[in-house]
Subunit: 315 residues, 2 copies
């Protein structure tokens, strides 16, 4: 039942149901602006933004993500590189690679794909990345700048992508009641940090598995952001009529009617909630495509900042 | 009408009004535990925790705070030092002093008293402090660890003090609705970060000057934390009967009936709210005394961490 969106339309409205916020279209727009900025940096400054992704082990889902990251960075005109390391890699070996990338002037963005094999402590690796090349934005120094509101750090790609989606869809945030369901370090917490900043001015509530009467909170939300990692958890009765619903979930469920026998669903019961909400992101094609687009945008900014080149106004 | 609390009682109840959460008493307890831990570190490890405070200029309120910090650190058996610099100090001169303290092995905690003269950028100074000596906990790396939930950073002293007050007063936080009014980097934001962590498990809403229908939020709160910097802003009609009210405000207002012609009031209309709340912190004598106590506790922990000494279980 999903309507086709043109590349320039962030939202599509069907009769009697929520507008669709088309993340694929918005992500294409972000990638186009990134490509323009890359072309400018090459032409005017001889600077080619470079993103290096490190993949440890053979997790098939990670391999797909990493391939997409490299592909999209190259398509945007950037230097994209994937460093593949065996599942038996030690923490020291991985940190040595990170150190080499930290020192490499051609590398402006470093991303170590998660999850990592058990013998490697993720926090140690994240702290090993130079904060000014940490385009995934999980280093404590970048998380701290995000909460403080300092602008020279990076925002994690998924919540940053949600902010762009909300803006492109024209969702007013000033004074809006925003309820974030989920408090992960990757989405929920940085999402709340972004929304509560002066200038954005949302009133943010962070709910989680221990929240009493979760539905009472979600029903207050002008903007409801679901990031709990439980398939179709948010049902229609949990949504205020007219609310904007952003679905960050990516859950694979069994579905014998499909070729693969599985299907991707969000944290929101899309078909039911769509009849209550005023706007909603689909899964797939909502928040998902934004993540890599924001990674590319962060990498271009890292390149500019590391090279001391001013922003030409491109996002 | 405030009842006298004994040193061991965190709360005092009058007939027909809220229990008083006695911050002065709780702070004495924290300081006593700090002193015990300092004695142990000296005796067992030859380690004397050291706190160095840098005061730039002649702001009289700052001079009082700094004197209290030195006095209380020395009373706890620590090495307390205050470095006074003229109001004309340049940023470079201040950073040079910070660098010297960063390198000084006798110094475990460094605090640069705010506000700073106009020619000095506070963010640059805060970033100049080694994160593992940043006992004020405003460095982005410590703020980030706080939000991520990593335990080896520090929490800012005022919100950390509120957490201890709530614990000592036996206020249940798991699943509780907590509303924080104010989103400053010093109190509101780190307060929210502490409360939303797994293990604490409060459901946190952060309100601010742009929040629509603020009273609707504050009336939902099981625990209401006022940190907006507006004298007696929270009135009785904004408080749910039986709520716990924590007043972080310190506002000096005119009062011709006092010797000085001024009086200190909190962000809460104490006399009125006291008849609605189940427990409340007074101003002065509530959150205020906790701040320096937590600074000392942070400094002892910094000394332990820098010296590689295990925690004996003292807080």
């Amino acid at each position: 039942m999903r309507a086709e969106a043109s590349a320039t339309d962030a939202v599509v409205q069907d009769e009697g149901s929520a507008r669709l916020i088309d993340g694929a279209a918005v992500a294409r727009g972000v990638r186009a602006r990134v490509a323009e900025e890359v072309a400018r940096l090459k032409a005017e400054h001889g600077l080619t933004p470079g993103l290096s992704v490190v993949l440890v082990g053979d997790d098939p889902a990670s391999a797909v993500y990493v391939r997409n990251k490299e592909k999209q960075s190259v398509e945007a005109g950037m230097r994209g590189e994937t460093i593949r390391m065996p599942a038996t890699t030690t923490q020291e070996e991985l940190l040595a690679v990170v150190d080499r990338l930290n020192a490499d002037e051609r590398v402006h963005g470093i991303l170590v794909q998660m999850p990592l094999p058990k013998q490697i402590e993720p926090a140690a690796v994240i702290r090993g990345i130079r904060p000014d090349k940490d385009v995934d934005a999980f280093h404590p120094a970048n998380v701290g700048k995000l909460l403080i509101g300092e602008r020279d750090g990076f925002a994690p790609c998924t919540p940053a992508g949600v902010m762009v989606l909300l803006e492109e869809a024209g969702v007013p945030l000033k004074g809006a009641e925003v309820v974030v369901v989920g408090r992960s370090n990757i989405v929920g917490k940085p999402m709340a940090a972004l929304l509560m900043q002066p200038g954005v001015d949302a009133t943010v509530t962070v709910c989680h598995s221990r929240t009493r009467d979760l539905a009472a909170h979600t029903r207050r939300a002008d903007v409801l952001i679901a990031a709990i990692g439980r398939g179709r958890f948010v049902t229609a009765d949990m949504v205020k009529p007219g609310a904007v619903v952003i679905d960050v979930g990516m859950n694979r469920i069994d579905d014998p009617t499909t070729k693969t026998g599985t299907r991707l669903v969000g944290d929101v019961d899309f078909d039911a909630v769509r009849s209550v909400a005023s706007a909603i992101t689909p899964v797939p094609g909502g928040v998902g495509p934004m993540t890599i687009a924001m990674l590319l945008a962060n990498t271009v900014r890292a390149a500019r900042q590391l090279a001391g080149v001013a922003d030409a106004g491109a996002r």
